[in-house]
Subunit: 198 residues, 2 copies
């Protein structure tokens, strides 16, 4: 097999593993299994973690390069292919520079009953607003972020979108919002900064 | 056994299960197991999820009452005892109304390499600022939240703290910050609103 093919297969296996962990996170919250069932499931989870943990990278995933030399943020808390905390968000870029993502948020993202935690709304908006400022090999860091919550964001399908309002030197000013079938729920403005390369 | 004792035992078992899932999330990101090891671990995880998922509450956890009638937010994305996405944060309240929490954030909370995702900083600050406004049986919802990122927040031990700046009618104005051994990394201001009970 060619190396790219191998890499695709490895990527698919990691994606499949992480999706299994995402499902486990959800059922851990919602399970009504009896105590014996919980203890039995926990033993299987510990055995799986021992198996996966027999060899690990130290620290965190960081950004690694794929076989073609492109950066790969598989550990990222919002988009990470191998991070079960990440929904994961798949960020689409339009030719005009705007970005959007659609995702379904389940029980793990809850704050007020039946609704997305306000801080999870902030997490998604930080990421999509920041994505408007990112350039290949030149990441942008959040400078300021302002969120206005207009109504509760119900758990279920959510859309996040953002675009650049203006650029001034190293600063990119971005705006965006979250919406559901109820309409816009949270609006955001952010300033993202490209570190000067000295 | 008395009912309170049973409840303590059940709570400890759920906490233990969820901690096992948190460890699994971490090793899923960092594992260097070979493909056979990953496939074997995935089979165990799927079996555990099947076992836990054989009986589930519909939808999300919401807020349920414990045997003494106190609300229990075990599914919450920041503090939930049964939510493996939650670090979980344990929020301490001082007699002057200020709140604080200390937590260690690992690989699952990463954004920039070696650093906490800016949106995770927002998630934690939204929660602790909001906690200053919460009253028993009278939750507060985020109205606005403004974050100023002063430096990167390194993965590892993080402290979040907040206090009420002023109250005006249904609005509580709160301020707070995140800090690490590097000092203050993110500052936040928020307005939290108690819905009028009509």
């Amino acid at each position: 097999m060619s190396a790219p093919h191998d890499d695709d297969a490895v990527q698919a296996l990691y994606a499949s593993l992480t999706n299994s962990v995402r499902r486990l996170v959800d059922v851990t919250i919602r399970s009504q299994a009896d105590l014996d069932g919980i203890a039995s499931a926990k033993a299987k989870i510990d055995a799986a973690a021992d198996e996966l943990g027999s060899s690990m990278i130290p620290g965190s995933f960081g950004v690694q390069l794929d076989p073609s030399g492109s950066p790969r943020a598989w550990g990222n808390a919002v988009i990470g292919l191998r991070n079960a905390l990440a929904p994961p968000l798949v960020v689409h870029r339009e030719s005009d520079g705007s970005v959007w993502a659609e995702v379904t948020l389940g029980a793990a993202y809850e704050g007020p009953p039946g609704h997305v935690h306000g801080g999870i709304c902030a997490l998604l908006l930080d990421h999509v607003l920041g994505a408007t400022a990112h350039k290949p090999g030149r990441p942008a860091f959040t400078g300021t972020l302002t969120l206005r919550y207009e109504s509760g964001t119900r758990l279920g399908p959510v859309r996040a979108e953002a675009h650049v309002d203006r650029i001034a030197g190293v600063k990119t000013f971005s705006v965006g919002h979250l919406s559901t079938s109820d309409g816009v729920t949270v609006r955001a403005e952010g300033v993202f900064i490209h570190p000067r390369t000295t």
